[in-house]
Symmetry: C2
Subunit: 339 residues, 2 copies
């Protein structure tokens, strides 16, 4: 599958179908070699016989600060979370800044402080970094990139190919808070609502899940860009099975639901920065759910569906009225630059 789009559009950065085309059609064949399997949130490599997980993300969220968080906090939590859902505990981060000339120092300092505080909360050290400055008009205030390394959490081995019919789909809490918060924070809509980004480290929740159900954890992902629908479609494609969701079971705040209805968006496509999905073997699912609910920040965790044999490689939503619909990946980019 060769990438044939003639130029880069916003949708290529949105985490949905266009992003996947870019990664699978251009980056993966050239950079990662033909032997690479499904692309996870972090790579696990062997260094002198010990396994190390490594991941990286750039952050270009706009505006820089929003209810519940800021770009600096996202940059720490995003990388800690990518490691966590790959089954690893973050040990150290490195960070780079691309700064626009003319940026007031107080804006930079606020984000550096936000990173330091988020790193402290997440229990990870910041080990080094780099700064570049570009001319005024060649960036949008601050872009931050973090890379993180971590060690595998004992007993977890994540792979879409280990997913089996009957496995349960767990979700750590309400969805869509981050994306809709960013949308509202831009002030382009005549909407006001009490809503905060869910940005946080999910590592304590992942660790609790591992303690309760480690051998039964098949797969995890934090549904950021593209939302729950995109993450589960990637899973369905990679494991070749059906993911069947009980749509009524998915926790969505009224504010998020209302904003989505108004804008014609599906909450399942909206980005999250502090939630994760886990596929857990049926016999471990109740213990896993209880463990999440007992952990601070996990009381809204739910089982939202299960894996079935058919229809292959598809995500279905079933409602309590008996209807079902096919839930597709995100197409286009309704909410650019949300992380």
């Amino acid at each position: 599958m060769k990438f044939r789009d003639p130029q880069i559009e916003m949708a290529h950065g949105a985490g949905g179908k266009a992003s996947r085309r870019l990664v699978e059609g251009l980056f993966a064949p050239l950079l990662f070699g033909a032997t690479t399997g499904p692309l996870g949130d972090a790579a696990h490599i062997s260094l002198d016989g010990i396994r190390v997980a490594i991941t990286t993300d750039s952050f270009v969220v706009k505006p820089l600060r929003f209810p519940g968080g800021s770009i600096g906090e996202l940059a720490v939590n995003g990388t800690v979370n990518d490691l966590a859902v790959s089954g690893a505990r973050a040990e150290a981060l490195v960070v780079t800044y691309v700064l626009e000339a003319g940026l007031p120092t107080e804006i930079l300092e606020a984000e550096v402080r936000a990173m330091a505080e988020a790193a402290k909360r997440a229990g990870v050290a910041i080990a080094g970094g780099d700064t570049k400055v570009v001319e005024h008009g060649k960036a949008d205030q601050i872009y931050i990139t973090t890379a993180g390394i971590g060690r595998p959490i004992s007993g977890i081995a994540i792979s879409p190919t280990s997913v089996r019919p009957g496995d349960k789909v767990l979700l750590s809490g309400p969805i869509g808070d981050h994306g809709i918060t960013i949308l509202l924070a831009r002030g382009e809509l005549e909407l006001e609502a009490e809503l905060c980004s869910d940005t946080r480290s999910v590592l304590p929740l992942v660790a609790a899940l591992a303690d309760a159900a480690a051998p039964g954890i098949r797969w995890m992902r934090d549904p950021t860009r593209g939302g729950v629908a995109t993450s589960l479609n990637e899973l369905a494609r990679d494991c070749g099975l059906a993911v069947v969701l009980a749509e009524d079971a998915i926790p969505i705040r009224d504010t998020v639901r209302g904003a989505c209805e108004l804008l014609g968006l599906d909450p399942l496509h909206i980005a999250n920065e502090g939630q994760f999905l886990a596929i857990v073997a049926a016999e471990r699912a109740d213990a896993a759910l209880e463990a999440l609910r007992r952990t601070p920040g996990g009381h809204e965790a739910v089982i939202i569906g299960e894996i079935r044999e058919q229809p292959a490689a598809t995500v279905l939503g079933a409602t309590s009225y008996g209807g079902t619909r096919v839930i597709d990946m995100l197409v286009g980019d309704p909410l650019p630059r949300i992380c």
Copy 2:
């Protein structure tokens, strides 16, 4: 030392005095904690008892392609080299792209290919990555960030505090090629010359040096932004000793010297992307030099000076006419966005 500049200027990204103020006055105290010693090119951390080196850099060079290299190649070599001069062999890189909407795919593809080829040449795997897209006008085509992890090269322990009077200053080859190549490639000057960037992995040279003189290698650095003068001033400050250079011994191509004279620049302040400095114990210096010269790409290596007790924390240049001058760090930013 608190960072008091009210806003970010191009000079804060130039690698000289302003960059150092930003790092030491803002980033280091907030992000790295008070216990951090001198900031090296890569951090060495312990993961379950094994030592791992980690580093990161962003690349915003303009233009994207220039004689001898391109942004993608720099992004690989820069991180491989930061690990190498910290005494580590790169094992894996991760990469992020910030892309400007409207970027022609062929430009992106050329850089992805350049990265793949540079990684192959440097013997390092690219393990993963991320892509963000920002609106047209919010970036300058492509910004690339790489992070790398590596394992220490046996027998090398780099620290400015291990430097002693009498140690020799080794340089791997001619200086200033990269910075002047970028300047000429911008076409803003009415100058034409046959010159190529020196971008390359210095790992083979560092490995040869380690084989020949490992216990005698005190310190290494690749003099990128800010050039040889800035790197050696940082060393002089960190070790409290004098670095005395025989200026006539420093290899500088006629083209570089000519362009610098015309523009009022000091070649010692011009960036390099494929050279490194090493401080080596006197008794190992000849063996070290021979080893470099025997290694492909190292035939122009030279000893350019030595460490003395006085004047403390200073870099001096001595000419064959008997004069000496104080060589300062880079101030301002005569050549923005050279990497």
